[in-house]
């Protein structure tokens, strides 16, 4: 793994790059390959929040579990 690839993976892991953008920059790598390259680099899957996420979660939760008024 060269430094360029590691830099890209680190940016993805920090949530600074989308998976689509990462896969494009890695010459069309598949999601499974991304998962393995992250593991090889000792990096985590991204957990960072994205814009509008909380609203989407609340809406989806109310649809998935309509009995639950906490959503």
């Amino acid at each position: 793994m060269d430094q360029r690839e590691r830099t890209l993976l680190e940016a993805y892991s920090r949530g600074e790059m989308t998976a689509i953008e990462l896969r494009r920059r890695l010459d069309g790598a598949t999601y499974g390959e991304v998962l393995q390259r992250l593991a090889e680099a000792g990096l985590k899957l991204p957990r960072a929040p994205v814009a509008g996420r909380e609203e989407r979660i609340a809406l989806a939760r109310s649809w998935m579990f309509p009995h639950d008024r906490r959503a």
């Binding site: 989308t18 998976a19 689509i20 896969r23 494009r24 069309g28 598949t30 999601y31 499974g32 390959e33 998962l35 393995q36 992250l38 593991a39 090889e40 985590k44 899957l45 957990r47 994205v50 996420r53 989407r56 979660i57 809406l59 989806a60 939760r61 649809w63 998935m64 579990f65 639950d68 906490r70």
Partner: protein
């Protein structure tokens, strides 16, 4: 299949992440029909050949009552082309197939709603405007966090840790290309025509 909510798995990320974490059953913890476009299943099983493709196939077979593998023209054309170009790759095949499925006229009828489960996708931007109000995109992690909040699973974080651990193990195993033909045949066997007949 019944229910007012449909979960469309529109890219490979959720299937691979949950499969390698041995957590595919979590998709069944919601009272909803699950729809997987044939091309997405193909890409996930092909991509996950070294991560557990057979697990995905077996899981779909075991839960056919709740899971529909939706046939698409996009995959049909791709599959035919691969007869002469075995190494053909179409990066946006799954996305095109997902759009095709979601936009079928008899999907999301009445007050039915759809959750697009994806790692990230531009699918929603390509869906016709009339459907956007009843469709929401959700990442695998956020789906898991909802289950955790509803106390259906213990920890979303633990699933991701398991997926990351599987990635480390899988990196030492070579791809089993010989599985590809068998995987494609299995997908053909799982595809259901909209009229209810199995695709031969």
């Amino acid at each position: 299949m019944t229910g007012a909510l449909r979960i469309f798995v529109v890219d490979t990320g959720p299937l691979i992440t949950l499969a390698v974490a041995r957590s595919l059953d979590y998709l069944l913890f919601v009272d909803a029909d699950i729809i997987i476009p044939d091309a997405v299943l193909h890409e996930a099983t092909r991509d996950a050949a070294r991560l557990g493709a057979q697990d995905i196939i077996d899981w779909v077979k075991a839960h056919r009552v709740h899971i529909e593998i939706a046939p698409t023209k996009a995959y049909e054309i791709y599959d035919a082309a691969r007869a002469t170009m075995p190494n053909l790759r179409e990066p946006d095949l799954g996305e095109r197939a997902a759009v095709e499925v979601i936009e079928e006229p008899d999907r999301l009828q009445g007050d039915e709603r759809g959750v697009l489960l994806c790692e990230e996708s531009a699918v929603l931007k390509r869906v016709v405007v009339r459907d956007r109000a009843r469709i929401v995109e959700l990442s695998t992690l956020d789906f898991l966090r909802i289950l955790e909040a509803e106390q259906r699973i213990q920890s979303a974080e633990r699933v991701f840790e398991a997926a990351e651990e599987a990635g480390r193990v899988a990196s030492r195993v070579s791809r089993l290309d010989a599985q590809d033909a068998a995987t494609r045949a299995a997908i053909r066997g799982l595809v259901k025509r909209r009229d209810g007949d199995d695709v031969p």
